[in-house]
Structures are given as structure tokens and as C-alpha cells.
Homo-oligomer: 681 residues x 2
């Protein structure tokens, strides 16, 4: 905080400091690294790291052998474990160990992408938008980018290595690229430890350090039913890094708002976060009580509970961060500084954003509940809306569709629609009735939609009836509606489809209002702010995170908390001390029965000053030689505020130490073949 | 908002405007009323109203006959209805109608007080504190006021009308009085409608207008087993008031913070309200799910759910109010204005309050959970702590005890301890485990108390064991420990007593820290701010609400909401239109079967611009002639922000119209004797 202030008041032109920075691979500040650490990062190093790093659905992963072996976090493949489980045999609980490759089992919904190249299309976008008003520009930009994505995919379909997946990416509110990915669709589970050790400490220890969670798992990419050939992969250095050593994290940070204006942060503090927290806390209470009441059902809600608890903790800390007035004050200072240094024609863009945020305060709640679907929290409702909208949208030309129904998006939609996700009626009733009740709370009983749905029904009775009568839990029914297109969907009398249909006109207009009255003016103003920032700081501004590939550097170090020094490493001995035997502090038998054979001084986790956020889970921690020296799975509690700013003094990434990975595979799980494959390079 | 600003910038010396003002009876602005409305309010009028108005445990009520008949809100006597109910016969559900006085049934825990006189003791306090530092002054003031209360009660014990109840009251942070109350201990239920009509619209309609909740009930005060003689009572004018008519509300507004500083409001916005909302939302989710799962248990949690929903709505709207930056800005402006007009020696008192608020940010969470008991939400735990502390405190001289264990407080404690409140194990386990889980969330697993309690237990297993093993659900066990005093409590091995004992040292130090480091410096600084305010505005500043008797004036009027005009009255016809038959919009059979005989144009509720807050429930709405023309039971949604400021344009009180009271008693419930008693005056 003090450092940031100091830079601004001296007007120094390099706004990122210390280990801050979510750099794209083509603008990595190698010169700064060379100057500060005497380490040379060249193009070959960067290319090798980039081609070894993968993007999963919500996480990062890394190739660790030439035969497609992938290392990522256990918590990143929980849905795969759930898919491969049976009622009396939960892989989440007992883990999964293979003796040979033929035992590896496919995760149907798991996908992985490797970024092979990027193409700058900024000039095309700028040309296309010239002279347009902000609403028209917002529309035109979306259409152009959809078209460029589609062109890229068509062109790549002729490649002999297989077609590429193309994604339009906006950086810094002002730069546009097409990112091209090699795509892996056949991923198989090779190893996972028991949930008890993977998530040791559970929600209480989440975002804490020191830490003892064995949060890793191994997948393997297959190509035509054979292990994929992956010459670009990282070799593991099981010794791990030294305290103070320079380390890098490559991965896909999900979302930061370090360039948002003060008024946008205030909107989040006042409206978005409190509403989300209240909704999630209520739902959490219902799920906990559901699990408490009928022990047999507990495992139905374990997955949702874990993710809800993580979600609540993150948002609670985000709100705390926004309640620190000095953060907002710093944002104002930055805005004043830019205003003073770059005289602008036309209306002040920060005021324009503020006006749009004011408008969003009026529109947000209803739009979020009805178009955002937050008032209809049900897997079955999401199927219904997806089928309904896809039928309408697929009938339009690609570039005129809603963003999430373009040709490039359809494979993902099909995957969502046909994945073997178990639907449990009682859980559906719970989540749907809870969200309907929240909608009534927030919109009031006289809102037209609330009135129509809930005048003759309670949230619970409506949810129960819808869940009981819909047939969308049957994949065959969904398939028929998907294939039958608009005619089949229009003819459907399924009550969930009817609900989605009855909402759709309102939902689309609410979305349109947000797009035209909030998104469009914000995009126009943000572009002008971004241009001003570039004039002052040049290319040394890194873009906010958006779940695309980034690289950053830091060092192995702990931090100081309320005067006490926290070391950079945790060790195995304290995991055994902490293990009280009661969840979430219970170790699995596999560990308890080999305790005597383990070296208790083995490092378990480590803290580094890398700048990471959610989405970086599963990222490789890399040394200057390009070796893997850790597997990032979390940040400390201060890293949550990293959504808004990087606190160099306290923001830390938390990684699994490679020594504990070796110990686990060798001494606990007897996974000698996999260990051999990881070592043999 | 604009009005307030305008007054400040012109430096006009009367800070309350329009209908704003929570006036004590001895500083009621009769001259202003005469000037604005041409109505003369004299001492006799004021005395009559004061002596007709009662204070209940959390509400207000009013005498409406010379035989002790009391009118208040249905929602104010829910605990009485619960006490008088049996498992298969819920008075909350079916209501209670008496044909004759001998059918009236006593509510054991209901008490009522009438303010008979007040004594200004400011000079005594000022003298006693001269020359003391702020910690010593804070302690000395508490002791002195405890002593003055006790002296007053001893002196009054010799009165032939019976002993008075005495309460030390602080007004405007700078004035001290002893309030003397006539005390009614024998209150009996005479009439209550069914819960369905009393709370028609439920939580969705709570704080809304127009409104159709028949929220009234009748009690009777008894004295030596005979109806009390109550010459001071209000006559009901069943015609009700006209639109635009001047009306008064007498009652006990609970709590406002209109004089708190900006930093105190920010503390509430950032720390207190978000924590409370999250805790309550989670608990709400658990209770809803509990009620959903096992229908037989639903009625166990109906009462807690109602109060929780009210609580959540209020706090949500309080947070919204604090998120309006213009409110905080107005507070800053007022502070600057006062600073500019009253030069002060010594440190700036607003800065002193801000420093204390900063300190409170560090201390609050742990103190609130452990000393405040929010981490141990259980009736049985509250019994345990009460018994433990009372044993320790009663062994000390009266003036050295914790505030809530003085001689004057003991009768209330005994009442709490021995009331017939049903304790349901499963509900206790639910509330206790939910609060233990929140405590672990907020303090982290390594907090010493959390670690000690929850290292070998989950919140659920600890709660289950404590609830199963304690004997404190047995009133005889509680009585024995209460009578056995310190020796008996020290010897007790009851696990709930042991838990309270194991926390008590920490809990008391946390409280001491808050008292010395927050409360004491705030009291000292607030006194200086209050003195400055008095210099500028004179006696025309009304004190913040503190659940003592106040009077305010307003007129019958609706308001404008988003451009639409909302009328001042609701009528019976729309209640029938709104009645969908599904809770909470279901009317009871008693109404449905007489519909044809009812005049549907009967006014139901009315909106007035009186300044009321929680605690005013059950307040008489009074016309200039001193007749009762309504029964206040709610405010509109904007009235919630009345905790911080009075928005003359939109803040409205909501009262039951006397015409609907007459219609209900006469046509629906056939309560002719009661109606006769109300009419016969």
C-alpha cells in the first residue's frame, strides 16, 4: 500500500512493483527480471513453459512427462472423481491409484487446452468501430469478434495436427487478440489421493498458511486412444526451491479488477457482494441442515458444500478488502493522477463509468435474478433455458447470436447438456426453492414475475412440483429436444421448459438494458481510460486477469502477520500433530499405517510472493532452469484482496512441495510406475 | 436529504424538521406544533397520554378502558400466545377469544410499565466525575447510576400505591435521569386473532404499504387478582383520522443512531452489519430446511423464523442505508459545521471516536462471539452463563456488579430463568452448532478457544453432546443452582455450566477491553460533542431513541415511490383480492365465512408521517383531542433508514385503522363484550 502510493506520488512510470504482475507471455518483463535477479529469460524458455501449461475448465495444469501425464490440483478434478464414482464407492473419498496405464479411466467432462499462438486483431476492431456511437460500437465489436473466432476455427480445421480452438480475448479494455489453442478431449484419471488428505484442514484451513493439504492429482491426455506425445513438458526437481529463490508461476488467473474505477468497486461493495453473500449463506445453511438431518444424503451435498464454503470465504474477504477505505482512496488517487497527466476531450470517462454504475444499481438485482438465473438455482432449469435459447439462437446467423450460443460455444454447451451429472430431486428442490425465496425477498411480492409465479405457490411447493414433473433429468429427453431444435422445443409442454419460456422475454430485455445502458458506456469509457494509461505508463501495464495464460515471478518467502514472522515452508510432522482424527482434521488410514516409515522433516507446502488468483489452481511453480519446483493450489488469506490490488508485503501464493508428492507416491500409495515416469526424464 | 443539507448550510438552529423528532414528554415542542398546526398541546394532554401509554418487554401498548384493558400488537404478545399453547392447540394459529373476563388467561412472562415521573440527576453525575480520566469516569458513572437506581427503588418501596421500578436513563450522551415506572406484573390475554390474519402477507409484506395485517391483540392488567383501575386511558374514535390530519404517536422507540459520528456508522457498515447478516442468513437457511424436512417439527421453529426474517430485512435495509454515501457525507458535513462553530480545547472529539472505532475493528469479532455469546446461540448456554455469572456477581456489593446483575435487574433475570419457555433439543443443537461453526469461520481454527473446543469435535458433535448431557432444561435444576448460589454453581459438573466457566475469564477480559478502550473514550468524546451541539442548537435537539417514552407528531399521508403516488389508506376489499389461499397470503376461515356480511370499503391500515422505529410497535396513534385513532405496528421500507436519519419525503409509520378493529371484534369474532368496553367511555 505504501509502496504503491509512493510510486504514484513520484510519478514513476512503472505501476507494477515487486512481484506484482499478471504478464502475458509476449510482454513478459524479462529485462526487469534480468536486472533484479541476474536471470535471463529467453524466448525458448517462455515457449517451452507456455506449451507445457494447460488450461482446464476452471483451473490450470501442466504436462510432466512426454507421454501426456498431467499434474494438477485434486480440487480441480473433483467433478471427474464424482463422475467416476458410484453410490457405494466414492473416488472422492477413497482416492484412485493405478498400477498400469490401462487402469486409467476417462473423465467425460474434462477438457484441456494449450495456447499455441495468438494473433493481434486490434487494428481490425478499431477500424470496424470508427465513428460508431457506444451502443452500436458495443454490438459491432461483439459481432466482429465472434466472426473472427469462427474464421480462425474454420481455417484451422485444415491443419494436419488437428483443428484449433479459437477464442477472442480483450486485454486492457483496448487490445484484441485471437488466442489459438490445441485441444485435448480425452483425459483420463491416473492418480488421486483420498479427499481427507487432499483437503486436509477443509474450509477452516482454506486460504491459510502453513498448510498440509496434499492437493494434487494426475491425469493423462490421450490422442486416438493412445497416450498423447507431449515433448513440451516440465521436469520435476523433487528437491524444491530454496528460501529466497526466484520462482515463476505460469497459469490462468481467473479474474481481477485492478483497473476498475472507484465507482465500479463501490458498486461491488454495496450491491453485488452483499447480495451474493446473503444468498450463499442462506443456501449454505440449508445444505448443512439437509446433510445433518438424513445421514444417507450427506454425500449428495458434499461437493456443493465445499464449493460454497470456498465461495463464501472468498467473497467475505473481498468485501473486507473493499471496506478498507484506503484501497478506494488509492483508486481515486490513481484516477486523479491520470486525469492530471492526460488532458482529455469530451466528457470525463470516470464520470461516465460512474453514471453507468448508478444505472446498474437500479437494474442489477432484477437482471441478476431473472436473466442471470440466480432466482432459479437448479440444474434442471439451466437445462431448460439452455435448450430453449439454443433452439432460438441456432436459428440465427452465427454473428447475431447471444455470445454463449455461437458456433464456437456449441461443443461446450453440448458437453454441459449431456454430461453424466447426477440430478438429485431433493437437492434440486432445495436449491430451487431457496433461490425462489430469495427472489421474492429481493424483488418483493408485487413484482410482476414474482407475483405470477408465487401468488398461488410457496417457493417450496413450486420447486417441488417443477422438479417432480419435468422430464429433463433424462438425458434422452434432453437429446431429443436438442436435436429436434426450435420446433421440438416450441412444442414441449415440459413445465421447466414452460417456466423458462415464460421468463424469456423479460430476461432478454433485462439483459439488453444492462448491455446498452451499462456495458456499452463502460466499454467506451474504459477504452479511453486505457488509452490514457498507456500514454503514461506505456506497455508496462499488465492486463487484468481474464482466465487466459499469464506468467509472473516472485521469490520463496513467508510474511509477517501482526508482528509474527511466518516461515516459507511447512513440514510433514505438523500434519500429524494437527490430525485430531475429526473432520476436517482427519488423516486417511493409508497415511496413519505407514507413519513410522516417513521422514517427518519432508517439506509439505511453501509460500512464495507470486501474484496469483483463482484460476491459478494447478499452476506449475517453476525455477529459472525451467524445472517444476511446486504445484500452486491456493493463496494465503491476503491473496484474496489480490482481486483489487497486490499487497507485496503480505500477498502470498501457496504451493505443494515436490518432495511431498514423491513421498506420497512412493511411500504411501506405492505408485512406483507413475513416480518413475515423473523422475525419468 | 436535501432539506437537511439546506438547513445546515444556512446555519439554522433547529436541526429537526417536518415530522422528525423523538421528543421526550418534558421537551415536547408544543410551540412549534401550535405554530404549524394551530393546535394547543398542554401539560394535561401530555400527562394523560403519558399515563395511558405502557412499555412492554420490546414494544409499546396503551390502556383503552378504565378496567385495565390494554391494546397492543399481535406480534408483541407472540411469546404469551406460545406460552399458553399446547402441542395440538396453538393459540398463535387459532387465536383466542373470550366471552367473559374470567376466561382471560395470564401471560407469565409479560410485564408492563407506565412512566409516572422522571428525576434529573445530571448535576450529581457531573459532580461525581469531575477530574477523572475517561476510564475512571466510565466506571464511576456506571456505579453512581446503579446506586441512584437502587436508592430510588428503596425509597419507593414505602409508597402506598406500591413500589416503583427505577431506571437510570442517559439522553443526548450528556443528560442523566432516573425514570420511575408503575409496574404491572399480572397481565392476562383477553383477545387475539388468528396468526394468519394478524400477520397476513408475512415476511414479503413486512415493512410494505399498502398493508392488510390485523396486527392487534388485547391484554388486561390485573391488580390483586382484579382488573386494574386505569383512569388514564385513551378513548377510541372508530372513525379514524382524515387524510392530512395532525396525529401523534406516543411510544418507546428502541434505538436510533442519528447522533453517531461518521466513523461509528462506518464501523457498523463494514463490520457489525455484514457479520450479523451472514450469521442470520445461514441460521435462517438451517431453520427453513429443518422445517421443510420434518413437517411435525415445523411449528417448533415458526416463532424463531418470523423474528429472524424481520431481523434480516431490517439489517439488510440498514446496510443499504449506510451504502448511500450521501448519508455519510451529510454526517461529515454536520461534523465540520459543529467543529467550525464551536472551537474546542484538547483533542478533536470526532478523531477520538474514530480512534476508538479503529480499535473496535480489532476487538469486536472475538468479543461479540465470546462475551456477546453470539458463538454460543443456545437457550441452555444462556441459562448456564446466567447462573454462573449471577453466582459470582451476587456475591459482590451491588454497585460493583456487572450492569445486568444489579439488584434492580435480578427480578428480570429470575423471570428469564424460570419462564416456561420450551426447550427443544433438536432446535438447540441446530442453533448452537450453527453458531459454533460461525465462530470457527470467523476466528479461524487456531484461535485458542476454537482450538480447545473444536479440535476433537465438529460443531455438530459438540452441540449434540452438550445439549444431550446438560440438565439445565429442567427448571428445578436451574432453581436449585440459583438458590444454591456460588457454592452450588462452583460444584456443578453440568457440561453447559462447565463450558460457560471455561470461557468466563476470557469473556470478561474481552468485555473489559471493549469497555476501557472503546466505550470509555467514546463516552468522553460524545459528551464533548453533545455539549457543542447544545451550544449551537440549544434544547431543540431531541435525544436518540433508547427504548424510553417519546412523543412525536405528523400527519396522515402517503408518499411518492418512483414517481407513483401511494395513498394514505388501505381498504378491506384488497385483502380479499390478495388472499390467494397460500401462506402467507391465506385468510382464516373466520373471515372467509362472513365475507358477505362485511363492508369491503372499511379502511384497514393507514400511513402517517410520524417518526417511529422498532419499539414503537403497539403505539397509540392519537388525534389532537387525545383520542386513539390508530394502532401503529410497522413503518414503510424507508422507515428502516430512520435508524440513521429521518427522510421526511418517504419515511412513514403504518398503523391499523380503528374501523377494522371494530369490524373484526363485531362481525368476525363476536367479541361484543370487549367491543362494548372499548366503546363505552
Amino acid at each position: 500500500m505504501r509502496i504503491f502510493w509512493w510510486i504514484l506520488s513520484l510519478g514513476i512510470s512503472f505501476p507494477a512493483c515487486g512481484e506484482e504482475g499478471l504478464w502475458t507471455f509476449d510482454h513478459f518483463p524479462s529485462a526487469e527480471v534480468a536486472k533484479a535477479y541476474g536471470v535471463k529469460i529467453d524466448e525458448a524458455w517462455l515457449d517451452h513453459i507456455r506449451l507445457s501449461t494447460l488450461r482446464l475448465t476452471n483451473c490450470t495444469a501442466v504436462f510432466v512427462s512426454g507421454d501426456g501425464l498431467i499434474l494438477t490440483n485434486h480440487h480441480c478434478i473433483e467433478s471427474c472423481l464424482a463422475e467416476l464414482s458410484f453410490k457405494d464407492d466414492s473416488l472422492l473419498e477413497r482416492g484412485f491409484v493405478t498400477a498400469k496405464r490401462t487402469d486409467e479411466r476417462r473423465c467425460a467432462t474434462q477438457l484441456a487446452d494449450v495456447l499455441v499462438s495468438t494473433e493481434d486483431v486490434t487494428a481490425k476492431v478499431v477500424n470496424a468501430l470508427q465513428g460508431l456511437g457506444f451502443k452500436a460500437a458495443n454490438e459491432a465489436r461483439k459481432k466482429l469478434l465472434i466472426g473472427l473466432e469462427a474464421d480462425c476455427e474454420h481455417a484451422s480445421a485444415r491443419r494436419k495436427e488437428g483443428p484449433l480452438k479459437c477464442q477472442a480475448v480483450t486485454l486492457n479494455d483496448a487490445e484484441y487478440s485471437i488466442y489459438k489453442y490445441q485441444h485435448y478431449q480425452d483425459l483420463r484419471l491416473a492418480f488421486a489421493p483420498e479427499g481427507r488428505i487432499a483437503a486436509f484442514g477443509g474450509d477452516p484451513d482454506n486460504f491459510e498458511f502453513p498448510r498440509w493439504s496434499l492437493d494434487f492429482a494426475l491425469l493423462r491426455a490421450y490422442d486416438k486412444d493412445r497416450p498423447a506425445r507431449t515433448p513440451n513438458h516440465l521436469q520435476i526437481d523433487f528437491r524444491g526451491p530454496q528460501a529466497g529463490e526466484l520462482v515463476f508461476v505460469a497459469g490462468n488467473p481467473g479474474f481481477t479488477e485492478r483497473r476498475q474505477t472507484r465507482s465500479q468497486l463501490e458498486f461491488e461493495r454495496d450491491i453485488e457482494l452483499p447480495a451474493a453473500l446473503l444468498r450463499l449463506a442462506e443456501l449454505h445453511g440449508r445444505l448443512v441442515q439437509f446433510a445433518d438431518d438424513t445421514t444417507a444424503d450427506r454425500q449428495l451435498v458434499e461437493g456443493p458444500l465445499d464449493s460454497l464454503e470456498n465461495n463464501l470465504k472468498v467473497r467475505r474477504k473481498l468485501l473486507d478488502a473493499l471496506h478498507d477505505d484506503s484501497l478506494l482512496e488509492r483508486r481515486s488517487t490513481e484516477e486523479r493522477e491520470l486525469r492530471a497527466r492526460v488532458p482529455m476531450d469530451g466528457p470525463d470517462p470516470w464520470n461516465e463509468v460512474e453514471k453507468a454504475s448508478e444505472r446498474e444499481r437500479d437494474l442489477y438485482t432484477r437482471e441478476h435474478l431473472i436473466e442471470g438465473g440466480v432466482g432459479f438455482n437448479s440444474i434442471l432449469f439451466r437445462y431448460a433455458r439452455l435448450l430453449l435459447r439454443a433452439a432460438d439462437e441456432r436459428a440465427k446467423p452465427n454473428s447475431q447470436r447471444l455470445r454463449e450460443y455461437t458456433d464456437a460455444s456449441l461443443p461446450r454447451l453440448e458437453q454441459l447438456l449431456f454430461a453424466r451429472i447426477p440430478v438429485h430431486d431433493r437437492v434440486e428442490e432445495l436449491t430451487l426453492s431457496s433461490s425462489l425465496a430469495r427472489m421474492r425477498d429481493w424483488l418483493g411480492p408485487d413484482d410482476p414475475i414474482v407475483h405470477r409465479l408465487l401468488i398461488k405457490d410457496s417457493p417450496a411447493s413450486l420447486a417441488t412440483r417443477l422438479v417432480a414433473e419435468t422430464k429433463l433429468d433424462d438425458p434422452a429427453v434432453r437429446l431429443e429436444l436438442w436435436q429436434g431444435g426450435k420446433r421440438a422445443v416450441d412444442a414441449s409442454l415440459d413445465p421447466m421448459i414452460e417456466l423458462a419460456r415464460s421468463l424469456d422475454g423479460d430476461a432478454r430485455s433485462l439483459r439488453r438494458e444492462i448491455e446498452d445502458e451499462v456495458e456499452a458506456p463502460v466499454a467506451a469509457a474504459s477504452l479511453r481510460i486505457a488509452e490514457a494509461r498507456r500514454k503514461v505508463y506505456g506497455a508496462a501495464v499488465y492486463p487484468d486477469a481474464n482466465f487466459t495464460l499469464r506468467l509472473n515471478y516472485g521469490t520463496v518467502q513467508g510474511w509477517t502477520e501482526k508482528g509474527a514472522s511466518i516461515g516459507a515452508f511447512s513440514y510433514l510432522d505438523r500434519a500429524f500433530e494437527r490430525a485430531s482424527g475429526v473432520e476436517p482434521f482427519a488423516l486417511p488410514d493409508s497415511w496413519l499405517k505407514v507413519t513410522d516409515s516417513l521422514d517427518l522433516h519432508t517439506p509439505f507446502c511453501l509460500s512464495t510472493s507470486n501474484d496469483i488468483v483463482g484460476g491459478n489452481s494447478g499452476s506449475p511453480l517453476i525455477d529459472s532452469a525451467g524445472h517444476l519446483v511446486g504445484l500452486t493450489f491456493d493463496g494465503n488469506i491476503h491473496s484474496i484482496a489480490g482481486a483489487y490490488w497486490f499487497d507485496a508485503a503480505r500477498n502470498r501464493a501457496v504451493s505443494l512441495h515436490p518432495a511431498i508428492i514423491r513421498l506420497a507416491l512412493e511411500k504411501v500409495y506405492g505408485a512406483q510406475a507413475l513416480l518413475q515416469e515423473l523422475s525419468d526424464q
